[in-house]
Amino acid sequence: MFDHHATLKQHFSALRTTADFFSLRYVRESGQYLAVRKNIAEPPHLNHDEGVMLTVRFNGVEAYAATNDISLPGLQAALERAEQQARLIKPHALLDLRDQHVSSDIADYLSPNLAQAFPSLSDCYQLLGDESAAVPQDERLVNWEVSLGLTHVEQIYLNSAGAQLRQAQRFVFPGVNVTAYDGNDSQSRTFGGTNFGQQGGFDVIDRFGLVGAAPRIADEALQLLLAPNTPQGPRDLLLMPDQMILQIHESIGHPLELDRILGDERNYAGTSFVKAEDFGHLQYGSPLLNVTFDPDIPEQLASYSHDDDGTAASKQFLIREGLLLKPLGGALSQFRTGMGGVANSRACSWNRPPIDRMANLNIEAGDKSLAQLIGGIENGILMSTNRSWSIDDARNKFQFGCEWGQLIENGELKGVVKNPNYRAISAHFWRNLSAVGDASTFKVLGTPNCGKGEPNQVIRVGHASPACVFSNVDVFGGDA
């Protein structure tokens, strides 16, 4: 672990520059993606990636150069390219960073159970093969896949102010999906995949419950084929955690990103319906809504000690009892606005610069069991597992779809319905939060696929949530 650290430190000390400030961020990533599809092992995809980003600051103007050549001459050449770039853009620069504080922290961060050996490739294929074989024989089951992604990341950050931050993390992404087809309609059920990932080792697979999941997922896909369409009209909506994470992500996370509010993302990811002056004043949701930036849940995907600019991370309430308090803005955005924020300046790899990202963005548990949540609904619907997401560029008007729906009538769960969709407006939706599940309904989930930034970056984000109820939501089904 960190076997490049000594060499990098030597190289860093040997770099020559007249910059006011400079930093080096080294990232090494290795991984494997394994899948068994319809009982046939797909060939494994393995990868080894490493490189360095050097950032310089001249007279308050910052520029970066990323390189795959991590020798001392390679790093020196990259540093000089960054210097040249900083000088070139000086007359056109938006920001003057001369007075921005830089980190001098020293820390190490390790994923939980990192020392624990992960099962061998053979054992992983055996596990996936056994699960695939457990899908029952039914000619309506036309496609299924059981998969396991594994990624190791080591990062070393050094800067000219003395910071030395090392992270070693292991991420695990198990998944099962099954598609059923009846000659006209097709319905899919998914477990995990892009809805689930955690830091850790084999313990992640245990917590996920991969063993034995495939027959249940297959049965649910078949149930959906036989189910009626979701009826149209307003209903109370019970969202399970594997849909809540999408709801949090799109209609709380992205709108609270401070770089969007500052306009940086207007050409690509978009802007926000939230304005800088709303913090401390806007009643974002009902008093039941408590949203935290929480880097302290060890197994969650984006738990870390420091972000990629070297800022120390700690748990912060962004929304408390429905009141909007803090944005998702890292040190640079905080410097630009004079506002508070969190340690969320993150880059997806060595070849992309840090920007404001979600990290772990969670809803705190409430006080209702799942039975109490259902019992409190007269005319409603339970929805689970996201399958479709669409929201406007200000993150306001949204339409989301789920794989699984179950009607709720007079406090009881009733029949399964297919193609459950709902649409609403973020600015109003969270004010209709009428009940929040307790710790027994709370799940630590996340996704590896959050896209943003120019150049584009896709990054891991964690979301944890209880089940939640929203009153009077516009619900509808599909065409089939």
Partner: protein, 438 residues
């Protein structure tokens, strides 16, 4: 190319008689500059290069991605380490029944080395053009290389210099117009002309918003808006595996149960495009007619699907998505668009599309950037962001009235992991009815 060739030669002598390999290569040296409020918000350079090594032995195979360092001795060592890792991996795997290798020693080369503009000139041109306007955007430029070689002697090389300036101009009221200038030869006069066009559209956005209720409207979808619809369809829509396993949104079209308008012909036109003419699996990529006059025609078939479903491969990518899609032009003249639209919506761009019901090809998404209310053939006012929810079989089927005679070449501005070389050549589409829901 010489570094890649040297690695290929080393690998050829390193493998045993029973082993075969595919070696892919991807590299770029990119200049990235992002703008906000017409100033440089963030700038940098990225130099990266990687290999993808597939080792095959006795029907078993595995892939390994390796980042290169750019130093020949070290890169050879990384390739040797990778070869060793795959040699240790293959015995752990079962034989793959869907492995289909191309043993032809095909050759393909395409090199374009037009000099790119100096960044100082680009910054100056942008600075001049953006005087007094709220510009936000992203400039990406530099050489891109892609290579492929196999132990059977196939060799492909693609290298091109390009730039892409993707930008938006914002009115003080928050409305915006989107534009781009991309290619391989920066012409300051042409850039200024395009920028001026965007400025002129921006003036219309200053008018008071026309309030719009959910409902059904006539609409013109400009090529960039049609691209969003086409792009989501390409999420598996033309994939042989997705069609066979019922994950394609066009499954009813391919089953012959649905059709599109006879005006719609869609082709994957690799020849003459900006994409490399070979797949990462070692096959030359063919041109394929996917939809012919509204009827399903061809599919994108990679070697794995060819083996699984008994089809012939046409060199499709591993995810069987297109990278040089063309929709045939129609007959609607550019000058007649507003007149034929009459009263309805002129939609420049759509955004964030997804499926409401995938097997039914029913989509939802948002308007974004420069959407106007048109009355009696005249632009009256911008409209606020609206959500639509409608079926491909309506929009490109029963409700499609006309396609434009002129088409626009839209070059991808995507930079996830690496700069994308995909493109779409598309007309605009006039539809009799678009359903807005929110």
């Amino acid at each position: 190319m010489n570094n890649f060739k040297a690695l290929v030669e080393w690998l050829k002598q390193a493998i045993t008689d029973k082993e075969q390999f595919h070696l892919g290569y991807a590299a770029e040296a990119s200049e990235f500059v992002r703008f906000n409020h017409a100033k440089v918000r963030q700038a940098g350079q990225v130099q990266q290069a990687s290999l993808n090594l597939k080792l095959i032995n006795d029907g078993r195979h595995a892939d390994l991605g390796i980042t290169l360092a750019g130093e020949p001795e070290l890169d050879r060592q990384r390739l040797a380490d990778g070869l060793q890792q795959l040699r240790e991996t293959l015995p752990l795997l079962p034989q793959d029944p869907y492995l289909l290798l191309n043993h032809n020693a095909w050759q393909s080369r395409n090199e374009q080395a037009r000099p790119l503009p100096a960044l100082a000139q680009v910054l100056e041109d942008i600075n001049q053009a953006a005087e007094g306007v709220d510009l936000v955007g992203f400039y990406a430029a530099g050489p891109i290389s892609r290579g492929f070689a196999s132990s059977d002697g196939a060799f492909g090389w693609h290298q091109a210099n390009s730039f892409n300036f993707d930008f938006s101009l914002f009115h003080a009221n928050g409305e915006a117009v989107k534009a781009s200038y991309a290619g391989d030869a920066w012409d300051s006069t042409e850039f200024a002309r395009r920028f001026k066009q965007a400025r002129e559209q921006l003036e219309f956005l200053g008018r008071p918003l026309h309030p719009l209720a959910p409902g059904e409207y006539r609409a013109y979808l400009a090529p960039a808006a049609l691209e969003e619809i086409i792009s989501i369809i390409t999420w598996g829509g033309f994939s042989a595996q997705a069609i066979a396993s019922k994950g394609s949104s066009l499954q009813r079209l391919y089953a012959g149960e649905q059709s599109l308008s006879p005006l719609v012909t869609v082709t994957e036109q690799i020849s003459g495009s900006l994409s490399q003419a070979f797949s990462t699996e070692g096959y030359p990529r063919n041109d394929v007619t996917l939809i012919d006059a509204g009827q399903a025609h061809g599919q994108l078939v990679n070697s794995r699907s060819a083996a699984e479903y008994g089809l012939s491969t046409n060199g499709a990518s591993s995810d069987e998505s297109p990278s040089a899609l063309q929709v045939a032009s129609g007959s609607l003249a550019q000058a007649d668009i507003l007149k034929q639209l009459g009263t309805g919506l002129y939609i420049s761009n759509l955004w964030y599309l997804n499926y409401s019901d995938l097997p039914a090809a029913r989509l939802t998404g948002m308007t974004r950037f420069a959407t106007f209310w048109v009355e009696d053939g005249e632009i009256k006012a911008p409209v606020s962001t609206m959500r639509f929810d409608d079926s491909v079989y309506n929009l490109l089927g029963s409700q499609l009235e006309a396609l434009t005679a002129d088409r626009e070449l839209l070059l991808s501005a995507s930079t996830y992991s690496q700069r994308n070389t995909a493109s779409n050549l598309l007309p605009g589409a006039l539809v009799k009815r678009l359903t807005l829901t929110l």
